[in-house]
């Protein structure tokens, strides 16, 4: 049995590609489980989609290749939400509002705040509660 892996992707859809059912093909043709965190894809407008894809690595690679045949930009780092470590004051107000522990106190002795991108589901709670405008959304 092939080992399954999960990858986070952020896709940018220019205006011309917004009406194509690309995600349907990821499921149907490449046997991937998709978990959409956040999407803003509106007909006649450019849009973004942040999702996890789970399946055989080979299928994920082929699926990424398939998506690449459209005029869609793939950001495999999947950063729809960014955290600026230089701007962060380390107050820790965000930490209890982050549902997945992506934003966390890395060391309780120094109370430093750290951000684990892998755990971020882009709920955007941090953007609202950060007093210092440290977190930002790509869309």
């Amino acid at each position: 049995m092939t080992e399954t892996v999960t990858k986070k992707l952020m896709l940018f859809f220019p205006k011309c590609e917004c009406e194509k059912p690309i995600i349907y093909h990821l499921v149907k043709d490449y046997d991937l489980v998709v978990n959409v965190f956040r999407a803003k894809v509106t007909p006649e407008e450019e849009g973004y989609l942040v999702l996890d894809v789970t399946g055989a690595e080979e299928n994920i690679d082929r699926a990424v290749e398939f998506v690449g045949t459209f005029n869609v930009t793939i950001n495999a780092a999947g950063k729809g939400v960014t955290w600026d470590p230089d701007a962060c004051t380390g107050c820790g107000h965000c930490v209890v509002h982050c549902p997945t522990g992506a934003l966390h106190i890395s060391d309780r002795a120094t109370m430093e705040v750290a951000f684990d991108e892998e755990k971020c589901i882009e709920c955007l709670a941090c953007i609202r509660v950060c007093p210092y405008d440290v977190c930002a959304s790509a869309f």
Partner: protein, 396 residues
């Protein structure tokens, strides 16, 4: 016993022994109080957090022809002009003109006086717009121009209240989310927020105001500033626990410093959803180890400092004085506290990591001989309490 002069002589010769309020705890435990007091000259304390009672006095210099500003805005944030012709006072919580505030609550409060102060220190170019009624010697009626901090004659930060000695732990017992100056408080006590540097906090290391007083030199956001008065709402009287930590009202400091010497890392605009704008600022206060008693009180630990848990849905806004319990900073910094048998996750508005950095930066400056201590010329009152505002009829 050491004097300020002896300590300053050692600092000037580069021989002073300086430790942070965190380092000193274990050092004294290992070395013994008397021996450590003879050896250590200065303990550095610090805090970083939103300080709403902040502002700055700016002098713009005179334009040709001259103007006596009667209304002025910096980046559309109103500044107070009831001073001399081109002096203004800009307050940290002043909101930008046309900001909808809490018209559609909770408002975002993206920009205000605190952000202007942060941009000024960061060297950004800002817009000044001012109006005047015009006078014989100040004929100009309107001015719009751009400036940076370098163009100003003076830019002086004033914090009428900084370094609060102790503070509430905010919680929300109601059934709706609250948006407060203590951050977002989820309904039904689902989280709590505190705001103090605990064992690093200046007035918790000098709880009886033995060394920190009016005239004390302080580190304010990277500048060499000083304590110019007791802070607003200073309430040095009232109960204290066995470690002299205030259990109720507590002390505050009024600080001032030259913004041209400040670092943008420690002067930050604050936006608190649903509440408003403010200024995040860092302060460091050196404590001269004059005798073993002073040193003993610098060894305060997070587990010895307790703060009252206050319900911000009813007890705080209605000033009932009721508290739900007390909790130590050790518990708060663990990220979870116990409230009536329930585990509640805790966040903070004060940055311990920044406070630690400030305490270390100040210690380094003192060790290198660049920062001297000053003996206060007036001590902070230790017997005053906070007065409420009474709503009453005119008496005469």
């Amino acid at each position: 016993m050491k004097t300020y002069q002896e300590i300053n002589d050692r600092i000037a010769s580069g021989k002073a022994v300086v430790m942070t309020a965190e380092e000193i705890i274990d050092y004294v435990e290992g070395k013994g109080l008397e021996a450590a007091a003879a050896e250590v000259d200065v303990v550095t304390t610090a805090t970083f957090g939103p300080m709403c009672s902040s502002g700055c006095v700016l002098n713009f210099g005179h334009s040709k022809p001259k103007i006596r500003m009667s209304e002025a805005w910096v980046e559309d944030v109103l500044a107070y002009t009831g001073l001399a012709a081109v002096d203004v006072f800009l307050g940290a919580t002043q909101l930008r003109h046309n900001d909808p505030a809490n018209m559609y609550p909770p408002g975002e409060f993206r920009y205000g006086g605190g952000h202007v102060m942060a941009d000024l220190v960061a060297g950004k170019e800002l817009q000044l717009f001012a109006l005047s009624y015009g006078t014989d010697e100040y004929p100009l009626r309107e001015i719009r121009t751009y400036f940076t901090i370098d163009d100003l004659n003076q830019a002086v930060m004033v914090n009428p209240r900084n370094c609060y000695q102790n503070y509430n732990v905010a919680i929300n017992c109601s059934d709706r989310t609250l948006w407060t100056y203590m951050g977002k408080l989820e309904a039904d006590c689902k989280n709590a927020n505190y705001c103090s540097a605990g064992q690093l906090s200046p007035l918790l290391n000098d709880p009886l105001y033995e060394t920190i007083g009016v005239g004390s030199s302080v580190w304010l956001a990277g500048a060499h500033g000083h304590v110019y008065a007791e802070g607003t709402q200073h309430a040095g009287g009232g109960g204290r626990n066995e470690y002299d930590v205030p259990t109720g009202g507590s002390g505050t400091l009024a600080l001032s410093g030259d913004m041209k010497q400040m670092s943008p890392e420690f002067v930050r605009g604050v936006s608190l959803v649903g509440y408003g704008v403010s200024l995040g600022v860092g302060a460091g206060v050196p404590i001269p180890i004059l005798n073993p008693g002073v040193l003993k009180r610098c060894c305060i630990r997070d587990e010895q400092i307790v703060a009252p848990i206050t319900d911000y849905s009813s007890d705080y806004p209605n000033a009932t004085g009721k508290v739900l319990g007390h909790v130590s900073y050790k518990q708060l910094k663990s990220g979870k506290i116990d409230v009536d048998g329930r585990e509640v996750p805790v966040g903070s508005l004060s940055s311990y990591s920044k406070a630690l950095k400030i305490a270390e930066l100040l210690a380094a400056e003192i060790r290198s001989g660049d920062f001297l201590l000053s003996q206060p010329y007036a001590m902070l009152p230790a017997d005053t309490n906070m007065k409420p505002l009474k709503v009453r009829d005119k008496t005469t």
